[in-house]
């Protein structure tokens, strides 16, 4: 059959048979319905796009529905086509064995060995060692440019914030905070004046809380002003703002990992994974009645790190 005589070909009628069609006319109509539905979805999408220049929930839903119908129907149609109209078969194919025949492995090993021998690397120690040295030193120009990515971590940045002696407290919009602005049990997030940007907020945002003079204890008195205390709101666990304040229990909650801090007891951690108290900021009120800091925090704020004392 394969070795057909070329001379015969012209005289012999075509031997090729058409494979009989599988499936019924109804199956064909059923599949075609989905293809038409897909086309309809495509037009629907296009018209939605054409008509609506603004996106709102309704328009977005129309986009989703039309595109879903367009693509989904095409997919359903294709699968039905395969299932209903294409002949089903169970074909079998042999797997070729994995791994090369031993003689191939042998030959490859031998070729490699001969190449290594030809290079002389095994018998020329000076060559070998100098190459090893050069390869090792190649790491230097590869690694060095990484240093350009950022500054050296400095103690000044790690251990200090923007607060300094006499910094006035402002709200995020820059408004100064005055004695008497807070209701009893009131709480507000404050920043050092002129430092309300994202960079400063990452380590210098502070919660000023009016806990009332009765709630100021020996532990917090030195840094408090009358009934007011100020704490770093950067969680000592992973650095999220621990600023959900429960007024009844005087507990600060960090919503990231549920560390809780007791404000009355100097923001000592009472639950969750945090290990250290939120650092307290020593505060005062200046002659004009504005809240000021007496200085920076006496310890680093936020998450722990290797060089932290």
């Amino acid at each position: 059959m394969i070795g057909r005589k070329r001379g015969e070909a012209a005289t012999r009628p075509p031997a090729r048979r058409e494979a009989p069609l599988t499936g019924t006319k109804n199956d064909e109509r059923f599949v075609s319905f989905f293809f038409l539905l897909s086309g309809g979805g495509a037009v629907w999408f296009f018209v939605t796009y054409w008509i609506h220049t603004k996106t709102d929930n309704f328009v977005n839903a129309m986009y989703g529905l039309s595109l879903g119908v367009c693509l989904g129907s095409l997919g359903i149609g294709a699968i039905l086509w395969a299932k209903k109209l294409m002949p089903h078969e169970e074909a079998v194919q042999e797997r070729h064995p994995f791994g090369s025949p031993p003689e191939d492995v042998e030959a490859a090993t031998e070729t490699f060995r001969a190449g290594v021998e030809g290079s002389g690397i095994a018998r020329r120690p000076i060559l070998r060692r100098s190459l090893l040295l050069a390869s090792g030193l190649l790491a230097l120009p590869l690694i060095a440019p990484l240093r350009s990515l950022g500054d050296k971590p400095r103690a000044a940045e790690l251990n200090h914030t923007r607060w300094s002696k006499g910094s006035r407290m402002v709200l995020a919009d820059g408004t100064l905070v005055k004695l008497g602005d807070l209701e009893p049990n009131g709480v507000v997030t404050v920043f050092p004046e002129h430092h309300t940007d994202v960079e400063a907020a990452a380590d210098s945002s502070v919660l000023l809380i009016n806990i009332g003079q009765n709630n100021v204890t020996d532990r917090t008195r030195a840094k408090a002003f009358e009934g007011y205390v100020a704490y770093s709101q950067i969680c000592t666990h992973a650095g999220c703002p621990a600023r959900l304040y429960s007024q009844q229990t005087h507990v600060l909650l960090c919503p990231c990992h549920q560390s809780q801090f007791n404000v009355i007891e100097g923001c000592k951690p009472i639950a969750g994974p945090a290990t250290r108290s939120l650092p307290q900021l020593a505060i005062d009120v200046d002659g004009q009645g504005y809240f000021i800091a007496k200085g920076d925090f006496d310890q680093p704020v936020g998450p722990g790190f290797w060089e932290r004392d």
């Binding site: 059959m1 529905l65 149609g77 194919q93």
Partner: protein, 546 residues
């Protein structure tokens, strides 16, 4: 061979005396294009071999396809989004059409994300398809990994593809995290803040890692640009390379199959790539894409405009990462507050262990599992037939143990949500997580192993004595027994052999045999062999013959 073989036409020349009717229209165009490519690449043999490639069919083999298709959709939608997204932390004032944030200062990245969501026509749809597809990509990979694990598909010779798969899951997590950090909204910034704390927790080099990534002290002004390069070039490039290797190995090694009639370790039984398998695969891609479009149109995902621009001083209650980062979040939440401080140094174990050590161990064990199993069983043989989970009770037990460990972490990552929905104390749930992570995994191991062993005993019983028919019979002695019937015999199959080498390389005898399978007159003339006639026609269709 006759002497006519001397008259083999020169390469590229075609026999004008071919008796078949000349193709017309589209057929002619396709044939012409194919000929053009073949004359320059010699690809006809490979093309035919590919169309003839046999794929075994099982519903569970589609799960990996979902991940693959999601990745393609991610590339398509992601490319569109890059046309509108600005990778910049520079502060701008928003003037777009979302009124609640009008005149609010924010980063250019966040403003451009709002722009995509409200002012780019169909931008919100594409953004939401992209996000839903990312969730589905990770979900598809994880469930696919479970399928491969419980059926033992990773056994020799497929350990390399298992390793590549573990690499893909890891990169997928990194890619997803980098992606949802880009909009620079309040939620994504919170995630970055935690990632920074995890970096800082690494002893000795932690602060260096953080300072180099952020370009200085957190948050710096470079992170958006850097994450952008990582998200749209570096990691997707690696994923694309690994997926190509994954598919290439699958193609070369051929797919595993479940045992069945005619199926052996040395063959592969199923449908050929073309046309049915290709139609099903292409159709399934369209369905996945269509489902994602429906989800994106009807179900809101990551509404960044509600979260507001990022500020390190703000956070909202109920902050949740995307689901595939949930296990890390859960680990951070249930870790006890351990920290080492001394000699001027600090090691924050409460971050280091859940953020670095536990995921490191999990993924190391995940990657090394095929070798661990080989060490335990001493099984170094090739395996092309899959197992049912029950066939290896220890493996199934280890799998359920690992999933339970993972599940407790994921659930703990949402413990504040559970606490508020079910009005349970949050602290109680934290403790429940701590206890569950210790005691539930071993219980899962023992229970799964026992169930598998019991199922195996039942199978052995049925093989030996048949299955229970439910018919109760009373014996003359008065005794009642249940009638057992033998298991139905394996159905008969007619498998169409498909050769694995290109036609030209087959020996003449092999060619004759191959062709006769489809066209042998004895086959189609035999009574009751209507199917074989059709199959014969099909072989005609695939196997070139005169």
């Amino acid at each position: 061979m006759s002497t006519d073989d001397a008259a083999i036409p020169a390469p590229g020349a075609f026999d004008s005396r071919d008796p078949r009717p000349e193709p017309t229209g589209a057929g002619k165009a396709i044939g012409g294009a194919g000929r053009f490519v073949d004359e320059r690449t010699g690809g006809a043999g490979f093309f035919r071999e590919s169309m003839n490639k046999v794929f075994p069919d099982n519903w569970s083999f589609m799960i990996g396809e979902i991940a693959l298709y999601s990745f393609i959709i991610l590339l398509l939608t992601g490319t569109y989004l890059t046309l509108f997204f600005q990778d910049s932390s520079a502060e701008v004032v928003y003037h777009g059409s979302y009124l609640p944030l009008k005149d609010v200062p924010m980063s250019a990245a966040y403003a451009s994300t709002l722009n995509i969501s409200f002012d780019v026509r169909a931008g919100l749809l594409i953004r939401q398809i992209h996000h839903w597809a990312a969730l589905l990509f990770m979900f598809g990979m994880v469930v696919h990994a479970c399928r491969v694990f419980f059926t033992g598909a990773y056994r020799k010779p497929r350990e390399l593809n298992w390793l590549i798969g573990v690499g893909l899951v890891t990169l997928g997590m990194l890619e997803g995290f980098a992606g949802y950090s880009l909009p620079d909204d309040l939620l994504s910034g919170t995630g970055l803040r935690i990632a920074d704390a995890v970096m800082l927790s690494i002893p000795v080099v932690g602060t260096w890692v953080s300072f180099l990534l952020f370009g200085g002290e957190y948050p710096g002004t470079h992170i958006i640009e850097r994450l952008y390069v990582i998200h749209i070039l570096l990691v997707p490039g690696l994923i694309l390379g690994l997926i190509s290797a994954h598919m290439g190995l699958l193609w070369h090694q051929k797919h595993t199959q479940f045992p069945g009639p005619g199926r052996t370790e040395n063959n592969v039984v199923g449908e050929r790539m073309f046309p049915a398998y290709a139609a099903k695969g292409g159709g399934f891609f369209m369905i996945v894409f269509g489902m994602l479009a429906l989800l994106a149109g009807l179900f809101q995902i990551n509404p960044v405009w509600l979260y507001g621009p990022y500020s390190p001083a703000n956070v909202s209650a109920g902050s949740q990462p995307d689901w595939y980062i949930g296990f890390l979040e859960g680990a951070l939440r249930i870790m006890p507050n351990w920290e080492f401080r001394g000699w001027g140094y600090t090691i924050p174990f409460m971050i280091l262990i859940p953020g670095v050590v536990i995921p490191g161990l999990m993924f190391t064990l995940f990657a090394l599992w095929p070798w661990i199993e080989q060490r335990m069983t001493g099984d170094k043989a090739y395996h092309n037939l899959l197992q049912r989970p029950r066939e290896s009770p220890v493996r199934a037990g280890v799998g359920m143990m690992s999933l339970t460990f993972y599940g407790v972490l994921v659930a703990s990552g949402a413990n504040d949500i559970f606490a508020s929905i079910f009005h349970i104390s949050l602290n109680a749930l934290t403790w429940a997580g701590r206890v569950a992570i210790i005691i539930l995994p071993p219980i899962a191991y023992v229970v799964t192993k026992k169930i598998c062993e019991a199922l195996n005993r039942k199978d052995a019983e049925e093989r030996a004595h048949g299955y229970e028919t439910g018919i109760i019979r009373r014996l003359p002695s008065g005794e009642f027994i249940e009638v057992h019937a033998p298991l139905p015999a394996a159905r008969e199959t007619h498998l169409i052999p498909v050769e694995t080498t290109t036609f030209a390389r087959l020996s003449e005898r092999a060619r004759d045999e191959l062709v006769s399978v489809g066209s042998g007159p004895t086959d189609s003339d035999a009574p009751g062999s209507g199917n074989t006639t059709r199959r014969g026609g099909l072989v005609d269709f695939f196997v070139k013959r005169d």
